[in-house]
Amino acid sequence: MRQAAVSVGLLAFLSGCNRHQSALATFGAEAEGIRTITIALVVGAVFIIAIMVGIYWRAVRAPEGQLTHKQGMRLVLWLGGIGPTILLTVILIFALPAMRPRVTAPGDLTIHVEGEQFWWRVGYERPGGGVLVAANEVRVPVGRTVAFELTGRDVIHSFWIPGLAGKMDMIPGRTNSLVARADKPGRYRGVCTEFCGLSHALMAFDVIAMEPAAFYAWLADQSRPAAGARQGQGAQLFAANGCGGCHAIRGTEHDARIGPDLSRYGDRLTLGAGILPPTIERTADFIRAPQDAKPGVRMPAYPQLSHQEARAIAVYLKGLK
């Protein structure tokens, strides 16, 4: 039974690897450093377990009196006391360098991220000054040091991109800093790891690591309004239904900062903070009944919109590129 269980577990493990949200599949320097520590610790742990099993096996099989009192005390002293002390000191020294945060220099990119129930407000400090506001997606240039300034607006959240670095809590009233460097371009995923309410499980975000040139081009491009920001039936419905009361779209009169910024919704890779494909259908459904996709979401439902109308808004949003 145990053998079968072990092989099932192994199979599940081997088939289980993902490449985009895993502390074992790293794309950043910090996560890579921790992965090295992890491997060392696991090897050490397996080694210790083997020793312990051996000793225990020996102990219960030994005839009475094989170990004298004095020898027994020596066993306790060396294996229980001195051995662990040496081992732990080694581990601590080995891990200390990873506790030192990466040094930032003036001019390094700073990204502000605020956690809110249940989405992420992202602000990139532009090289020329000012902040580009976006939501639910974090883009970073590879090979560059990036400082994340993290806080929580309503409750405590935690910002975790497993492939990039360890996590850092987002606490109302405090700003925490997380400095990291991505090394491998690609699309990854981050999640909220502090329990934050009903849809804690549905609070994720996309992470895109880009070549620096592409990143800065993207940043400059994002700052201009989307092409179709003011046109069409969707834009009218967006305004008429008060969507602008919470959402902002650059280049229009909508500049509210309550919900996620939608200026470039058409460029987003996911809908609803990393949980759904951002198709027109899904977007329309989300507008009419957001709580179906995300229990406890702050956005009110719009059941009064017809499917057609919701679709029109969705088409408009998808056009914001």
Partner: protein
């Protein structure tokens, strides 16, 4: 009574008949529940905690079913959040800690050769509080109102009334009520270990289980009060809108995390050490030799306790604390491995040196050690701060903590169950079913939790009601779910084994051939007296080492073999070397503990529903019950000064002051009270460090120095009057002593006003900012203590007037003086802080 008097079988029979009569449990449908004897209360307590464990286990199974496949919708997010919150909270507060208390109440008197614990009614009160609070908290899930903020209840999610409902109040108030019963049990157990040992059992001859109980009870005493202080602040924020954790008004959510984990980390050792204690009892039995390295294991236990209070920050590695403190707490967290390693190797060395007899309990102990070691090693991993940044709040930690708790608490308890079941029921459990269950549990635990290490590192956060298929962890989760069902089936086999027990034939006395005192119990005899007589101890394993020990006990050849006055009694000894000091009369069956628990439960439960007036009525009912209970049941003046206990020894029937159990109970309770108070004071200075301006602009004149200094002077006068009353009373000046008590009560009453006058007259609005809120909290805390001082001084005065306290029999005034010492200290710290500190800083 001389030694050879016990040679007379008729005399022995007469003694036994008297003892039997005295210790006869009450009968009848209602009356049987008024029992206070530890062998009954302990069994109720154990069964209740076991029941809560099964309930919380079912909650876990529902969760595992939901998580079996990705994107599942078996239960809603709302239900899932209630499930995991209640699972964790119940396993901690309604199973692990109470189970330790329950088992200890059940076997500690036997282990110490005592007839019962020093305060049997307090045990009963603790049990009824636990039952009531537990049913209240657990039952909430049937009304869809269970707490849903996680067992750690981090604000502001849980303090904002728009984000969390009644569940948060149920958690805070329901569990605070249970914390009261935990502290009650801790007091009982500490006094039991220190004062109720049999003559000759010096501290270094004490069974290791008693050592561990002492260590763990002291830990409860210092770990639970910070949480109680936190609960207090928490409920003030929820019910009164005082902004302790609201950053927009100067509060800070991290204060809760500090207070919670100052409790929460020692908590892990509070539930782990008693299991090690069970090992320490059964390993020597099955190794057929003394435990090797007794002083080492005692030091290791004490060391673990000390270290465990310095580790709490490792639960907060990702909150952005200064990096230097991370390195320190990483080191401290790893250091706790060393005493744990010593304890484990003491067992291994004992087995190695002895002759191992395999048995079901030893099998469970071996399995739990294996599981625990894996949990301990992953514990070292998460103690390394950088690794923790990845693993924290993921399923890796879920795996780690379940390895620790299953290996360190649950499986050892099953080992203890198989070991001690014959002691309680006189019948062994089935070796066959036990082994089958063991392998199911062992395999189930590993199949459930081992894959979680990987799902966690593969990016699965904790407390998620679902996960996307793209994450590729569906397979790992399915395996975990299957393992959980296997584990549950193993528990079911254990339950089946227990259920079959009544049909089995009684076994032998001391079936494992153990050497410690609890095995004196003869299951064939239905006596409830605990021990036939209180033995004289000269070895750690008296049944093995002392000649004819069992026979001598059975024939009543040691102390206190009789109950000639028809009273329940046990012997009180000195703390260090167990010299007999006095005979104490124990509380008899009574409905007062139960009614007091109901009244106190009313306070907590009605407050949950904002029924403040009804809660106030219950508070007065509680006060009345407590006073009635004390008046009729404590510090009773005996009919004679001394009584013989055998071997030509005569012991007094009344002691007061530092030698008496009552004094110790007061002292220990006040240590807990002072610790809770330090939690609040910590809050004040924590906010001071958080703010550049504290008191903030415009509030620095409040509450001023004048009223706090008046209140301090009043408190010190009241304290001095009480001390004087104690001295005068002892000197025989009863009239002056009464006058001093009356004046003291008057000063204490004025102290309530003077304490509140500072914040009140300066118009501090506790809802406006955290500064007035914390000042008010300290003032109210101290004023409330002043109010209690009025009651205490009045009580001693009334006892004196009623003739229940005399110059010779003066326990009441001596005990309230202990309270007054602590009260004076509280007043000093509070009034210096709120009155003088703003001027200094």
């Amino acid at each position: 009574m001389s030694l050879h008097a016990q040679d007379d079988p008729e005399l022995r029979a007469a003694q036994e008949a008297r003892l039997r009569e005295v210790w006869k449990p009450p009968q009848g449908l209602f009356l049987r529940w008024t029992d206070t004897n530890n062998d009954r209360v302990g069994v109720w307590y154990t069964l209740t905690a076991f029941g809560f464990m099964l309930f919380a286990g079912v909650l876990a199974l529902i969760m595992r079913t939901q998580l079996a496949v990705p994107d599942n919708d078996l239960v809603s997010a709302n239900s899932f959040n209630q499930l995991f919150t209640l699972h964790g909270s119940m396993m901690m507060f309604l199973f692990a800690v109470p189970m330790f208390e329950a088992v200890s109440i059940l076997i500690l008197p036997q282990l110490l050769g005592a007839r019962d614990l020093p305060f049997p009614r307090l045990s009963a009160f603790g049990y009824w509080s636990f039952l009531l609070g537990g049913v209240f908290v657990a039952g909430s899930i049937f009304f869809n109102e269970a707490p849903d903020g996680g067992w750690f209840m981090y604000p502001p999610l849980t303090t904002r009334t728009d984000l969390s409902g009644l569940g948060a109040d149920i958690w805070m108030l329901g569990l605070s009520f249970i914390e009261v019963s935990s502290v009650a049990a801790a007091v009982e157990l500490i006094v039991g270990v220190l004062k109720c040992r049999p003559p000759g059992m010096r501290l270094n001859l004490m069974p290791l289980y008693a050592w561990y109980i002492l260590v763990v009870a002291v830990m409860i005493l210092f770990a639970f009060p910070p949480l109680i202080a936190g609960d207090l602040l928490f409920e003030m924020e929820r019910l009164l809108n005082w902004p302790f954790f609201d950053s927009s008004r100067g509060g800070d959510p991290l204060l809760w995390q500090h207070l919670f984990w100052i409790f929460g980390h020692p908590e892990v050792y509070i539930i782990f050490l008693p299991s090690i204690a069970l090992f320490a009892m059964l390993v020597p039995t099955f190794a057929r030799r003394h435990l090797l390295g007794y002083p080492w294991i005692v030091l290791a236990a004490v060391g673990t306790a000390f270290l465990s209070f310095g580790l709490w920050v490792h639960h907060m590695f990702t909150t952005g604390l200064p990096k230097i403190s991370l390195a320190f707490f990483s080191a401290a967290s790893e250091a706790v491995v060393i005493p744990t390693g010593v304890q484990i190797f003491v067992f291994i060395a004992t087995l190695w040196a002895g002759r191992v007899t395999w048995s079901t309990p030893l099998l469970y102990a071996t399995g739990s050690l294996a599981i625990f070691v894996i949990g301990g090693l992953t514990g070292v991993m998460v103690a390394v701060a950088p690794f923790d940044w990845q693993a924290h709040d993921t399923y890796f930690v879920v795996a780690h903590l379940h390895y620790v708790l299953i290996g360190g608490t649950l499986m050892p308890l099953f080992a203890g169950l198989y070991y001690y079941w014959p002691l309680i029921t006189g019948k062994k459990l089935s070796d066959r079913l036990g082994r089958i269950a063991f392998w199911m549990l062992f395999a189930g635990a590993n199949i459930t939790f081992f894959p979680m290490h990987f799902s966690g590192l593969e990016g699965m956060p904790r407390r998620v009601f679902t996960y996307p298929a793209e994450l590729g962890i569906g397979g790992l989760n399915l395996v975990s779910t299957l393992g959980a069902y296997l584990f549950a089936a193993g528990v079911a086999v254990v339950c089946l084994d227990l259920a079959l027990s009544p049909r089995r034939r009684p076994g032998a006395r001391n079936p494992w051939g153990a050497g410690t005192l609890e095995w004196l119990e003869d299951p064939a005899d239905d006596a409830h007296w605990g021990v036939r007589c209180v033995p004289l101890i000269s070895s750690r394993y008296p049944i093995w080492d002392q000649k004819d020990f069992v026979k001598k006990v059975d024939e009543g050849r040691f102390f206190l073999p009789d109950a000639e006055e028809g009273r329940r009694e046990t012997i009180i000894t000195t703390v260090l070397d167990a010299r007999p000091l006095s005979v104490v009369r124990l509380g008899t069956p009574s409905f007062k503990p139960m009614l007091t628990a109901v009244a106190l439960g009313g306070v907590f439960i009605l407050t949950t529903f904002h029924l403040y007036w009804a809660a106030l009525v219950c508070a007065f009912a509680t006060l009345f019950m407590v006073l009635w209970w004390l008046w009729t049941g404590t510090a009773e003046i005996p009919e004679k000064e001394c009584k013989p206990i055998g071997h030509g020894m005569k012991l007094p029937l009344y002691i007061s002051g530092a030698a008496a159990p009552g004094w110790w109970a007061m002292f220990i309770t006040m240590m807990a009270d002072a610790t809770a108070f330090s939690g609040l004071v910590f809050g004040y200075y924590f906010f001071w460090t958080r703010h550049a301006d504290f008191p903030p602009e415009g509030m620095d004149a409040a509450p001023g120095a004048f009223w706090p200094m008046v209140a301090l002077a009043v408190a010190l006068v009241s304290w001095a009057l009480t001390v004087a009353a104690r001295q005068l009373n002892a000197a025989g000046a009863v009239g002056v002593a009464r006058a001093a008590l009356a004046a003291g009560a008057a000063f204490s009453a004025y102290g309530v006003y003077a304490g509140l006058a500072g914040p009140w007259l300066s118009g501090m609005d506790p809802e406006a900012h955290v500064y007035p809120a914390i000042v008010w909290t300290l003032a109210v805390w101290t004023a409330a203590h002043s109010g209690v001082a009025v009651i205490m001084q009045g009580y001693a005065l009334a006892r004196s007037i009623a003739g229940r306290m005399t110059p010779k029999y003066d326990a009441d005034v001596r005990n309230i003086t202990v309270y007054m010492h602590f009260f004076a200290l509280t007043a000093l710290v509070t009034y210096a802080t709120i009155g003088l500190f703003p001027g200094v800083s």
